[in-house]
Structures are given as C-alpha cells and as structure tokens.
Symmetry: C2
Subunit: 289 residues, 2 copies
Amino acid sequence: MKELKFIKYISKRPLFKGIGDDCAVLNYKKDKYLLATTDMIVEGVHFMKNALPYQIGWKAMAVNISDIASMGGVPKHALISVGIPRKKPMRYLLDIAKGVEAAARKFRITIIGGDTNASAKTVVNVALMGEVEKRLLLRRSGARTGDLIFVTGALGEGKRKHLTFIPRLHEARFLTKRFKVNSMIDLSDGLAMDLNRIADSSGTGARVCESLIPLSEHSDPLDKAIEAGEDFELLFTASIKESRKIIKRMGEDLPITLIGEIVAKKYGVKIIEESGKEKTLKSEGFRHF
Amino acid sequence: MKELKFIKYISKRPLFKGIGDDCAVLNYKKDKYLLATTDMIVEGVHFMKNALPYQIGWKAMAVNISDIASMGGVPKHALISVGIPRKKPMRYLLDIAKGVEAAARKFRITIIGGDTNASAKTVVNVALMGEVEKRLLLRRSGARTGDLIFVTGALGEGKRKHLTFIPRLHEARFLTKRFKVNSMIDLSDGLAMDLNRIADSSGTGARVCESLIPLSEHSDPLDKAIEAGEDFELLFTASIKESRKIIKRMGEDLPITLIGEIVAKKYGVKIIEESGKEKTLKSEGFRHF
C-alpha cells in the first residue's frame, strides 16, 4: 500500500481533516499557532540494521524538526516512543536516547515524555510540538502563479546523509522572518513528489529546469536524485518581487538556488530537460510501501 | 531491560525532566494546562498476532485517553503513527484507522496528523494532547498521609478486556469536578506497581486491605490480579473529609471501591491479607521487558 493512497484516503474522512501540511496547525496564543507533527522511523525502512543507535535517535528527532521548520515554526516539546528488540543491551537504548538528546539540545527542544517497549525490530516515534507566529506560518498551499521556486542546499545526498542531516530550521526561520515566502515544504520524499504536493495544494502547476537543480557532488544522476527521498532540504516559493530580495542575499550565508517557477494549473508539473524538451514530473518519490 | 529502569534513568537526565506523571503538563492558557502523552503498542507485546485490527486501533487510542483521564483532563488532539507489514492488505490498515476513529469520535478527539510506514510487525503510536483546568489537574504526587485510597471498577480483567476497554474519562472528570481528589493514576501496570508510584512520588506509604479489593468475576486470583497490568481503572486518593462525600455517591452511578489508606513513608507500601498478616507490596507489575 502506498502512503500517498492512505493519506488521500484518510484526508477524505472527517476525522482526519487537516492532514496535508507537514504539521497540524492549532489555535494556541493570540499571536501564535501551535504546530504538531509525528514521524515514526522503522528498522529496515528508514535505517538499516547496522545503523548506529545514536544516529537512529538523531534522525527520529531531525525528521520531525524538519517538518516544524518547513511550516516556519520553532520546535518546543517532544514525546518519544521507542520499541527495541528484547535482546539488545541497555547500551543500545541509551545511545538512542543520546542521539535524541543531542538533537533536542541543539534545537532547544524539551523532551516531555516517553514510552519504551519491546518490539521485533527497532522503531522510534517522535511527536513534536512547536510554535509559529501567525504572520510567519508557511503552508504548502500558498504558491501563486508567477512565484519563483527555490531549494536550499544540494540534492541527491539523502542516501549518504539521512541519518546525520541537520534540519534546515535556521534557514527556514531566516527566510520566513526576512521575506514574504508564499509556500514551503521539506524534501522528505524527493523533489518530484514534494513539488507536486505544493502544486496540488496550491491549485497551480510548476515548471523547473533540469540545468538549475543543484546536485551534490555525491549525488546519483539527476533523475534518481529528484525521485529519491530524505534530502530534507527546503523547497519554497515567493513572488517575483520578493524573489529579487532573496536572490540578493543568496550565496554563502543563504545556500539556496532558483530552480523554476509556479505556473497555471492546466500546465501541470514539468521539468525542462537540458535539451529543451518538457517532461511531466510525476509525483513518484520515495515510497514506504 | 525494564521500562522502570529506563524511566528512572531518563528522568535523571536534564532533558527528560518532568517525566513521572501519566502526561506532561505544559503552560497553555490562563486557566488551563496543556497535557501531552504518548504510548506505543506493539504486536506480540500489547496485542497478539490474531488481534482484530479495529481493536488494535481502539486500544492505541484508549491507553492514551486513559493517561489524559488520570490527570483530570479532556483529550483533544491526536497524532497517529502506524507501522504495518508490507504483506497486509489495505483492509487491515483501514480497519486500524476505523478503530482509531471510533475512539476519537466517542471521546470527541480530532485526529490532526499521522504517519504510515512499513514495519516487520504491526505497531501503532498515538501522541495525544488534551486540556485541563488548572484547578482540576490531578497528579500522582498529591497523596497525603490520612488520605483514603479508592479504585474504580473491578480488577483482574485486563487480559480479557485490554483491547476493548472504555477509558475512565467520564469517571475521572466526574470525580475531579465534584470532589477534591488529591492524587490519581490509571492502572496500566497493575495495582502493586501503580500504588507504589503514587506512594513514591507523594513521599508517603500506603496500606490496602486484600478483602476490600474488588475483583471481577473473570479475574485471576488476587495476587495475580494486583500484579497484572492493563486494567486501566483509576486509582485515587482523597482526604477523609472529601472521602465521606465520595462514599455517599458511591454505587451504581459511581462504580468505586474504598481499598485502603495513605500512611507515613516509613511504613512502606503494604497489603493486609485476609489473615491479618501484612505483606510488602512490591512494585512489580506488568513489564514490557
């Protein structure tokens, strides 16, 4: 079963309304929303048997921090559930806890509760709550025709870095505080799928240029890189006027690249190959099923 | 490894402070706290391979609702993560979702987000947020010497009912709104362990009478019943003055039983057997490791 199919199914059920962005947005304080998100990482799917327990703990936190970041928010409180095989030594669980704690410390998150269980394979779930000033909230659905499309960092590094990546929290806050960003998502499932998510929820199309997409030196070929998940870079859009300001700041202190533009819905979501040929960018990213 | 040992370990680490009650308590509104809790249920530990998926979904919600109830609060928002084996049919996942939704509907909870994954065995994690009026908050640590000890319902039914139990939310709210309850916990790990938790965190001892403990007609013998987990009844204490009022309301509309009293710490935590002999009640309940 595909996660996408499940998400589509449950978002139609009344009780699951609101699913769509990386986090749920709840009323909270006069000038702030509460953000809430959850992600489970499972041995054999999100990390292999030989992954270091410290890295498993780090990743479980980092993927959730990335979700809060992509909404423009600041993570605050985490609930951690860990399932580990009975045969593992105490050391293994403690090292997972250390990875969780290191990420929590780095991003000033308080761990407010937890649950530990026996489990056939290692599984770590984090539920993370954060805050965002109402005027700084970013959603997938805010892209407008004419917006330019940007991405942070370089793509294609997921496979190498997914256990140790630094979520782009500082970059997301920098962007939302200084510029009027219209939409944002984190690249957890690959550029192809996540760009389609922005276009779908904004009711627009999108066009990116192959030659503009920044690939890491360790990247697979481009077609693999844009379908591979777990880059955890930020994909965002802004009006041309705002984009001019953003482009002025681009460079070393703001590692972002302009890769395309938001267009009318009827155009679809396409990539312009180096030959000039346009190709539809299907929403096929990394699938857990 | 024992969960108790891990909880003891992590509650000493600065980042895990605050663990101890069934939920974390966060500042929220002027007159309310935000409650947050998480529980993971795992195939082979919290349910067997042949459990109905609907019941798995129900239980995952119910154990978390029970945690919010035991703090005197009302559950509001849930984040659900599901891991299921790749070979399971779509139907299986949908039935888990239906169980989750049924519990959500019954207790007026909004499901605000979720995550689905492949996993070797079925695992469901719920992170649940709720609210409690500041004056109605109940903790484990509020028991005072001289308090009487009560329990809702009948014990020893965990094995039979753990997949279908109704969390005691209405009873908890009824109690905290109408009486000054000093401490409360839900019996997730058995009376022996959970009474020790109240005594430990309150800095008191406790004495319960074997002959007063209400056993269900389907119960194992008493010594098993008080060490078995997953009854999910409420254990609470109140001053003698308040207890008089509570006792007046006891009966069909308030299914509670008086089972003992809170005493000085030096006395320890004991059970008075029918013979009159006192026996230390060790904190050995249901262990996940």
